[in-house]
Amino acid sequence: MTAMQDKAGRPIVVVTGMGVVTSLGTGKADNWAKLTAGQSGIRAISRFATDGLKTRVAGTIDYLTKEPLNTAAMSEMLADLAVEEAVAESGIGAKGDFPGPLFLAVPPVELEWPQRREVAVASGANDAIDYRDLLRVSAQFPTYHSRFMFGSVADHIADRFGTKGSPISLSTACASGTTAIQLGVEAIRRGETDAALCVASDGSVNQESLIRFSLLSALSTQNDVPETASKPFSKNRDGFVMAEGAGALVLESLASAKARGAKILGVVEGCGELADSFHRTRSSPDGKPIIGCMVNALNDAGLTPQDIDHINAHGTSTPENDKMEFTGTDKVFGEHAKAIPITSNKSMIGHTLSAAGAVEAVITLMTLQHQRIPPTINYLVPDPAIPLDVVGNTARDAKITHALSNSFGFGGQNASLIFGREPA
């Protein structure tokens, strides 16, 4: 008889459906094949002119649309695809009638340059244009109101898939996808719902977004061979590569999943978080918040560091992140750290920003399922200051029972999840 509660007496939360879209392709099967083959989805940006930009590569999703879309519309399209796959796999509810709430991680939504220019043209002002000119004609563009509401993507997903209650849109920067899953886990543990739809999507590769990260010196400028720009844990890493993607997970109480005979893809064993008060973009040099975050996840899962046998790293490929992630991992796991195979999916798919936590959760669960770890590609010059067992360049078979997935973001956002296999 399987226990339906964890050691802390809370409902066990399992995953019964997953969907993923990245620059490598749409769907779990396609992504898994390409990830384990060590393929890169990073390419030269063709969506907009890159004249004068220091960074000209990204993990854009160009195969779905010819038209350049704004961030909200792109994020919505990617989320739709991921949710469709996840809901179909789980077989939960009925079409357009998902029996639980929606937690959606999305990039901040705002009016973008094409629309701003369109309004400016309509104003007819041809000398100095300012916002008074734009305001004079704004009412001619009624659809831009709902499109650029922060809640608009969630509103669409809630309508289309019939989630229940007030949908929550959230941002914890690059930890957003992880936070969406955590909110779903908490809702099920509170007994408020038997199921939750946790989604993260990011389609924000546009000029201004790229320039914003570029001005913070966060991006790789290794443009010549786009496929090799993202090189987590390598000595010659120089920044992250922006990318688009979406991940969706159907979370369910084990009791509910068992009762309807659903296939269980994995267990969300623990969640941890701890914010950093050191700096807006940098981690506390002592690594304490990152350490505390991972320790909180272990405690929440009722596991010890020795129980973890794989880490899906945040691994952005910035000099700062990878060093700090090593410092934290080393402190939490001690001698055991070197025995844990660690990998960064971002080497192949880039940094999917708001979506990363959910995209990488899906990949971590596939890793557990297949007992095979996708590689960290471009790992040709290992950073001697990061003596970890990086799964470099080629996929590796491994026996994995409990895997940790980390997400760390601007604004001191740290969140970690621990996934396990179906309970016996």
């Binding site: 100095a128 916002y131 109101h145 922060f150 007030s166 913070l216 700096h279 973009t281 601007f410």
Partner: protein, 396 residues
Amino acid sequence: MPNPDRDIWITGIGIVSSLGEGADQHWDKLTAGTITANAETFAPFVVHPLAPAAFETQIPKKEQRQMEPWQRIGTYAAGLALDSAGVKGNTDILSRMDMIVAAGGGERDVAVDSAILTGIGKSDKPEAFLNERLMNDLRPTLFLAQLSNLLAGNISIVHGVVGSSRTFMGEEAAGVDAVRIAASRIAAGQSDIVLVGGAHNGERQDLLMLYEFGGHTLKGSHKPVWERGEKGGLALGSLGAFLVLESRKHAQARGVKPLAKITAVEAGRSNRSEGALRRSLASLWGTIKAKLKPGYAVLSGASGAAPATADEHAFLKDLGSGIAVRASGTYLGHGLEPQFPMNIALAAIALGRGSLFPPRDATGLEQPAAAAPTQIVVTGVGHWRGEGLALIERAD
């Protein structure tokens, strides 16, 4: 069975708006019926500008320079809330205090935008021109003042709240859900103490533009929210509101008295087709109805937008004539994300003082209160989406 140890106490309030800062200034202005709207600065648009605030008393100058106004307003209000709860600087509590912030973001540099729009039409290579201007003219730190989750980030840095940090987006509903999730976590024992709230800078042309797209702005002159007619109109307000919510057990263990308690928070989403908003409110009301005692009051978060405010008006009218209704938006303007936490704070103040501010409504919905309220229902109806209710009660 609800566990009284897990009662959700409000033990700290931090509010700042066009009316001033803190409970006393807000209550004095509301009681006096002072209207703070400004129809000149952004004419023809009506806004409620922030009253002068002594930011330096909560935020070091060095940190203020890293922030745009919405973040200063929020970080300031958060500091007032922590002071009010008596936990400011208490690293033991702050290190495990959870935080949920309801935020918009994207505050733009309108001078840079204007210069680009002026030049781009004359450029032979507009895309290259845009890249060049953005690369040269955007301040690198502006991005950090625009990111939605960086209000929470600033609160961590300035006040040391680090137990957890989550930012909800999505206009009014984000504020409702922030309070709802915070309260649910406390009730379930997932959290002992939470800082929850948000901030809004209503003195922004880029935001006026967003609401003007939908025809939602109030133009011309100020009127009480219920009197804005068929076309409606919301007057953007600058405001920040944070609450410290705490389990009764946690508060009692540190010897703290409650300002009020939150008995229920409910949120819904209707598609706003004909009648949908009223059905959504009725369904939310159904979940709290059994808890209401005669003499309860309603503090509405009505924005003035059409048709949402007219629908809410009709719903509240149907509750019956004996119920005292007030809309704070007439005085505060509309601040989207923080409006609901702000109204919970005002409800707690009203319960503490045993009175409501006077009616101000020619439609007759707002009536004098017969007696001191012991329960106040706070409504949060989004101008476009989202419906929320909270039941706030005296905690004694």
